[in-house]
Amino acid sequence: MSSKELDLKHVHDTEFPLPAEMQGNVAVTSLSRIYNWSRRSSMWPMLFGLACCAIEMIGTAASRFDLSRFGMEVMRATPRQSDLMIVSGTVTKKMIVPIVRLYNQMPEPKYILAMGACASGGGPFKEGYNVVSGIDKYLPVDVYVPGCPPTPQALLYGLIALQKKIDGQSLANLDDVPWYGVGPSEPAPIPILGPDIIDPRQMDLIRRQAELAARGEPTYVRELPPVVKKVKAVPSKVTKAAAAAPAEIAEDPRREEILKRRLAALARKRARDAAKAN
């Protein structure tokens, strides 16, 4: 962690006035701020790669891009010690079972970053019979990073976006994130490998569909809404009137006065800048 990170100004987060002689020694801040600041500055990812994106993830951790600038270089091979799961690659039906297990073993607070097109939504392999079209079908995702694979720069951007997200979380709002709430949160249900992957949350739906199938009624495929062709909008009387409106605004009687005030303010600013320069 750089000395800049330790600067108390970063943590200081209140309107409370501090005497000048105490600045730099004392910081008055909120508990959320301290929590979030320490969490975002030591985000340990899990050492866990799935596919092509994992190579770029390693590239990000290696010398040229250097993940350690963000306090994230400590990749732990065990979920028990990690805060962040970077889902780096195609999630298959066979692999989703261990992934959900790993996620459940991670201590809270825990975050998921879906790296690349496959983890975000199936990517080029979406239609595949063994492919889960996006990790968010089973687990909550905090940040999506597009790309196939995302460049290390893109991954770094995603990680910084996650840091910003953590900065915004609040202890006061219990609904904000599960780990600031009361009591332990529910583990994610582990999918079952049957004739196809079975999501335990969909058991009822599967049962209903099986009953429909037993009665010989068409199932599984949902009718899509008819395709609505985009029709070029014909301007109505109201929109025509709205289009004509700017002319009236231009004739606002206060226009002259506002313009004069702004010019005066500009002149003052220029004078101030010139004085500063001298």
Partner: protein
């Protein structure tokens, strides 16, 4: 005295595949027939005689190396499943291609594991994806999908949950683009799932795990070790999430003390259906998918696929071979890819040995420089999608300008030829020498690598091992010399071979192969200068070219070994726009056949090193 009987046998062992086919037709009348479909080669063998014919092919005709064994579903064209085998001679030459057909109902064929052990995983894959039962296979169960999966998905009549249309581009996207919808909107579950019609949740049992442990023998069993200590079998599961399995690979190991009794590789955790998706794509659409097979060496994968489809296109009237400049650029890219891959592979082998990350960081530094060049040439660091049928996508640029790797907010800007020449003549040789000096004489590396994971030459050939794994065992087999492609015949380089077939030899082979690649690249540079400005593609480029009917097996020497593409164009006399079958013979996948035999009797601590020395990539293993 000259033995007259021995002489014809010797000529048989060096004859062409046509001679071999003629010999088989003569020796097995009625059981062997020539494949007469237009564009197809080889012979069709009666399943009842398959093992006998295969034994003859191996022993009498000298085809000792089974490169590929895969299935094709001819639904609507004879309604049979066909198993296609490509056998080669280690001494070089073209393939002998033989096939066996079986009905789609109760598909059954004899197993060839007794002849070539390398058929083991490939037959399991055919069983998994096509449902062909192989009589006599020692361990016939699903390999890529899990036990209990419904159906055999590569069959033509098996439709996936997100099935939209037979061929791409889908009608919903074309021609007006107005009706685009996401596939999951159509599915009631909102997921890519499909359950059988008579599916009963009450009777659901998850047998995917328990079936894996069956082979390992989980029952407690007492052993007496050599020194009289009594132990019992311990079953250890490694993976699929493990930092040393190089991806989502899993091994189930049963141990006697610290020694390994059996090791069973479990894969399929990255099985993302390249082949099924590839059958609906047009030929060109598959090119970016090949990048994602062995994602460390995408350029090499592109080249193999381009060669396979070009072989098919050559059957048609309007084919012109790639231009000379295209071939030069292809070899440039392929050899740079080899260096990229070997740097990575050695870096991670050292990781597995416990030199955590430092060697890998050194290697990765150099790798990034080559990736800069790939990015400048193709637009992407890793997924290059660079080769085209009849050439390459674009000429190499005049200058390398990289916004992405700015230094002090300055765009780095080099002359490409200068960049390449500096990299090939100075930077990389210096680095490889330095790396060699740091590592090769290292005490720990030598102690842990020499004599560990030995694979004798005969076993390596029999197990269809390829690449540095095979060459490390002392077999000088390299597709660049055995069946030359592109401009390799005019280039001067040596095939690097090891001697003992242990981890250290594989490591040394890789180290030396990088130097040989540099030697090739030094010959490529003047050719690049000479051909400057010449066309990089031949003929007209089409987005969906019609490919004449037939089959082809295009193979290249990828960094990890022989990469083959078996492509079938079938079903339309005028030529097809989509492959009927697109199969990848992945070196990583088939090299894993050797993992079990290699680790038997070794210590558990050596498993990760032995696996690291095979150098697998899961994208290619599971496809």
């Amino acid at each position: 005295m000259v033995d007259h009987a021995a002489e014809p046998v010797e000529t048989l062992k060096t004859g062409t595949p046509e001679d071999a086919a003629a010999y088989l037709l003569e020796k097995f009348p009625g059981a062997v027939s020539a494949d007469t479909r237009p564009g197809f080669q080889g012979v069709i063998v009666d399943p009842a005689k398959l093992v006998e014919v295969a034994q003859t092919i191996k022993d009498e005709l000298g085809y000792d190396f089974l490169s590929s064994a895969t299935a094709v579903d001819y639904l609507g064209y004879g309604d049979h499943l066909e198993m296609v085998y490509h056998a080669y001679r280690i001494s070089g030459g073209t393939a002998l291609n033989f096939k066996a057909q079986t009905d789609r109902e109760n598909a059954k064929l004899p197993s060839l594991v007794g002849v070539w052990r390398g058929a083991d995983f490939q037959e399991r894959e055919a069983y998994d994806l096509y449902g062909i039962h192989f009589d006599g296979h020692p361990n016939l169960k699903r390999i890529l999908l899990w036990e209990g999966f419904d159906g055999h998905p590569m069959r033509k009549d098996w439709k996936e949950a997100y099935y939209e249309d037979e061929l791409k581009p889908f009608d919903s996207r074309w021609p007006d683009g107005g009706g685009v919808h996401r596939s999951e909107e159509k599915n009631v579950f909102g997921k890519n799932v499909r359950y059988p019609a008579d599916f009963d949740l009450a009777k659901l049992t998850d047998i995917s795990e328990e079936s894996l442990y069956k082979m390992a023998g989980v029952d407690v069993e007492m052993h007496a070790m050599d020194d009289g200590v009594r132990t019992d079998t311990l079953v250890v599961n490694m993976g699929p999430h493990h930092p040393s399995t190089h991806g989502v690979f899993r091994m189930i190991i049963s141990l006697n003390g610290e020694s390994i009794n059996t090791l069973e590789p479990v894969m399929g955790y990255l099985h993302r259906n390249h082949e099924k998706i590839g059958e609906r794509n047009t030929y060109l659409m598959n090119m970016p998918y090949t990048d994602r097979l062995d994602y460390l060496s995408s350029m090499g994968n592109n080249l193999g696929y381009a060669i396979a489809v070009e072989q098919l296109m050559a059957l048609g009237p309007r084919y012109s071979p790639p231009t000379y400049r295209a071939e030069v650029i292809r070899v440039l890219m392929a050899e740079l890819t080899r260096i990229v891959n070997h740097l990575w592979s050695i870096g991670f082998l050292l990781n597995d040995l416990g030199a955590f990350f430092t060697p890998m960081l050194y290697a990765n530094n150099e790798r990034e420089k080559i990736l800069d060049f790939f990015e400048a040439a193709s637009g992407s660091r890793m997924m290059c999608n660079y080769m085209r049928f009849g050439g390459v996508f674009k000429d190499i640029p005049e200058r390398i300008k990289s916004m992405a790797t700015m230094v002090n907010d300055r765009v780095r800007d080099y002359d490409t030829m200068q960049f390449l020449s500096q990299m090939i003549n100075e930077r990389l040789p210096r680095f490889i020498d330095e790396y060699d000096r740091y590592l090769t004489e290292n005490e720990i590396l030598r102690e842990r690598c020499i004599g560990v994971g030995v694979l004798p030459a005969e076993d390596a050939i029999n197990l269809s091992a390829v690449g540095p794994l095979l060459r490390g065992s002392g077999v000088a087999y390299d597709v660049r010399r055995a069946e030359p492609y592109s401009i390799y015949p005019e280039l001067d380089f040596d095939i690097v071979v090891g001697k003992n077939g242990d981890i250290f030899d594989r490591y040394a082979v890789r180290m030396q192969e990088m130097r040989e690649s540099l030697r090739i690249l030094r010959q490529i540079l003047p050719r690049l200068e000479q051909t400057k400005g010449e066309p990089i593609v031949s003929g007209t480029q089409a987005y969906s070219p019609r490919v004449p009917p037939g089959e082809s097996y295009g193979r290249v020497e990828n960094p990890k070994g022989e990469l083959g593409y078996y492509v079938v164009s079938y079903g339309d006399d005028k030529g097809t726009q989509n492959p009927w079958r697109y199969h990848v013979r992945a070196p990583s996948f088939i090299n894993l056949t050797a993992l079990g035999p290699m680790t038997r009797g070794m210590k558990i601590a050596d498993v990760v090193t032995i696996l690291g020395s095979i150098d697998i990539v899961l994208g290619e293993t599971d496809r």
